[in-house]
């Protein structure tokens, strides 16, 4: 019993460590990738040196890291932690403090249901590489991911500023429009693989169509995949769907936030992007499956490790892809955004369910 608990704790720690690192490194990726895309150099100035003689090799490494801009996240954190923590007089201090925590908590807790590998055998224990083995993992993820929006709405309302209220309300209606398309687009996946358990969905994607084409979600559900990615990007509240933030017009729901409370919203953004990348991988790109690699090519534990690496690689690719989208596309106008959600994605995802059902009956 205690061993199981320890194993679960270790897994949870591992996932939290990985996710927070992914989120942290994204601040660097965002700076550098956008710069390289736009023929710039990007962050390369933040650096410091230790004053002692014996620290020369350390200083050499620090200088190289600073040249790559990797010390900028550190400077960011120091800046955010040492800034004044400010609550406006018209705001509610308790809710104002609670909001970012709700936001970041529900973004992080969702990762419990994401399978990041097959199982490993260690000292007679079979460890499933998934923090919480839930039969209805997909529902859990959708439910908790939409609770996270309460943090944003609370932030808007508790700030007591008109602009932040507008930001919060925009976030609410945007989430409403896109959460539905998101959920409905996933019904096709559930119909096809016949399970809500994410690990089962990933296992099913190890099969091959006609003996050579991996039965990934993108092959079976191309329309569902596109709708899911579009709707999920809207969930992350980043450009082209950054209406709740809308920097040029309203600064967004976090106008009145400073210091680490703002940093938590910032972190939530990146954690949610990681979440969307992980979900896209799990549902549509085979999760930890490595295509065309026989299941018994190596020892089971080595295979599981390779699977984890494959999952990490796929997630990293999607982080790159989402970052490319964020730095390529302009923003939607608000009515266009609502039109796309309600009149575009939602009906198409309904049609997708019908098509998938029909196909399922015919193929079976």
């Amino acid at each position: 019993m205690l061993t199981d608990l320890l194993i679960k704790l270790a897994l949870a720690g591992l996932v939290l460590f990985a996710v927070l690192n992914f989120a942290g490194i994204q601040t660097w990726v965002e700076r550098k990738q956008s710069a390289i895309m736009q023929d710039r150099i990007g962050a390369n100035r933040a650096s410091f040196a230790l004053p002692w003689v014996w620290a020369t090799p350390i200083n050499f490494v620090l200088r190289k890291l600073g040249g790559l801009g990797l010390l900028h996240p550190l400077a960011d954190v120091i800046k955010l932690l040492t800034k004044e923590d400010f609550t406006p007089q018209t705001g509610n201090r308790f809710l104002h403090t609670l909001a970012p925590w709700i936001s970041v908590f529900f973004a992080l807790i969702v990762f419990a249901a994401i399978p990041f590998g097959d199982h490993v055998e260690l000292f007679g224990h079979t460890i499933d590489l998934q923090v919480a083995k839930l039969d209805s993992g997909l529902l859990y993820i959708l439910a908790l991911a939409s609770i996270g929006i309460y943090g944003v709405i609370l932030a808007g309302m508790a700030s007591g500023t008109n602009l932040s209220v507008i930001g919060g309300l925009r976030a609410a209606s945007q989430m409403l429009a896109y959460e539905i398309a998101l959920g409905v687009s996933l019904i096709g996946v559930v119909l096809w693989y016949g399970s809500l358990d994410l690990q089962a969905i990933v296992r099913a994607q190890g099969a091959y169509l006609w003996g050579w084409l991996p039965a990934w979600g993108i092959v079976i559900q191309p329309i569902g995949c596109i709708i899911f990615v579009a709707a999920a990007l809207a969930e992350t509240k980043r450009i082209p769907f950054d209406l709740p933030e809308g920097e040029p017009e309203i600064i967004g729901y976090f106008v009145e936030y400073s210091g680490m409370k703002f940093g938590l919203f910032f972190l939530t953004d990146f954690v949610e992007t990681t979440l969307v990348a992980a979900l896209t991988t799990v549902l549509f790109f085979g999760g930890w499956q490595i295509p065309w690699l026989p299941a018994n090519a190596f020892a089971p534990n080595v295979m599981a490790l390779l699977g984890v690496l494959a999952f990490t690689f796929k997630v990293s690719f999607f982080l790159w892809f989402f970052m490319a989208i964020r730095w390529t596309l302009p923003r939607f106008r608000y009515d266009q955004l609502m039109g796309l959600g309600w009149k575009g994605l939602f009906p198409i995802s309904l049609v997708n369910i019908g098509l998938t059902g029909l196909l399922r009956v015919l193929v079976r």
Binding site: Q33, I36, M37, D39, R40, I41, I226, A324, W327
Partner: protein, 222 residues
């Protein structure tokens, strides 16, 4: 009636029609309305830039393709862009061979200056052909509008705006003040030094100044 229809359309009429047509919203085609091809095009453009520049950045690290730039960035304080020699940059006063200013204190520049940022104190010059020289010559860059009138009006070619210095920064308005030493030897005063105003120098001081600077820079001392 037939006259009107056979009249050839003038150029202005044609432009007018084109403008009217352009104002009419064209109906979007199916592929344009679903955004995806346009998104793919945009991603293609940015991705080509990304991978090309990433490859070049890595290649530069190992010493390859150094002649193809990976970015348009100029790392400013270390690298400086080459400016056109015609660009009006910070002023300088020209010297005679012995280090005394070429300025004869005629006050033309002080008079023509629209911003009234030049202050000259003339002094008697021992040479009767020169008559006068500038004992002090002060220029307030905080007021200067960089019009270049002082350069154009000078009969002695004593003031020029060709130092290629445009990074003028100071901690106070007084810090933007250039005295005659700084004008004769641009760059001799650092930004942290307190400002000097209305420094009055004799001819001998100018000679000594040039002598000292040459000695400090290791140049042959005349």
């Amino acid at each position: 009636m037939t006259q009107a229809t056979t009249t050839p359309m003038t150029l202005s009429d044609e432009f007018l029609h084109r403008i009217r047509d352009a104002h009419k919203r064209r109906k979007l085609t199916f592929w344009e309305r679903i955004y995806l091809p346009a998104i793919a095009q945009g991603l293609w453009v940015t991705s080509v830039h990304f991978w090309r520049n990433l490859f070049l950045h890595i290649a530069h690290r190992v010493g390859l393709f150094r002649d193809i730039p990976a970015s348009v960035t100029i790392q400013y304080p270390e690298e400086q862009r080459q400016m056109s020699p015609r660009l009006r940059t910070r002023h300088r006063l020209m010297q005679r061979d012995d280090g005394t200013p070429r300025c004869v204190g005629c006050m033309l520049c002080e008079t023509v200056c629209p911003a009234k940022c030049i202050y000259i104190t003339p002094g008697e010059h021992p040479d009767p052909n020169v008559e006068k020289y500038a004992k002090s010559f002060d220029l307030d860059l905080g007021k200067c509008v960089y019009c270049g009138y002082c350069v154009e009006v000078c009969p002695e070619d004593a003031i020029r705006m060709d130092t290629q210095r445009h990074d003028i920064a100071a901690f106070s308005r007084d810090g933007m003040w250039l005295d005659i030493i700084e004008l004769l030897h641009p760059g001799s005063k650092t930004v942290t030094e307190p400002p000097r105003k209305f420094v009055k120098l004799e001819l001998e001081d100018f000679r000594k100044l040039k002598h000292d600077r040459n000695a400090a820079q290791g140049k042959p001392v005349a």
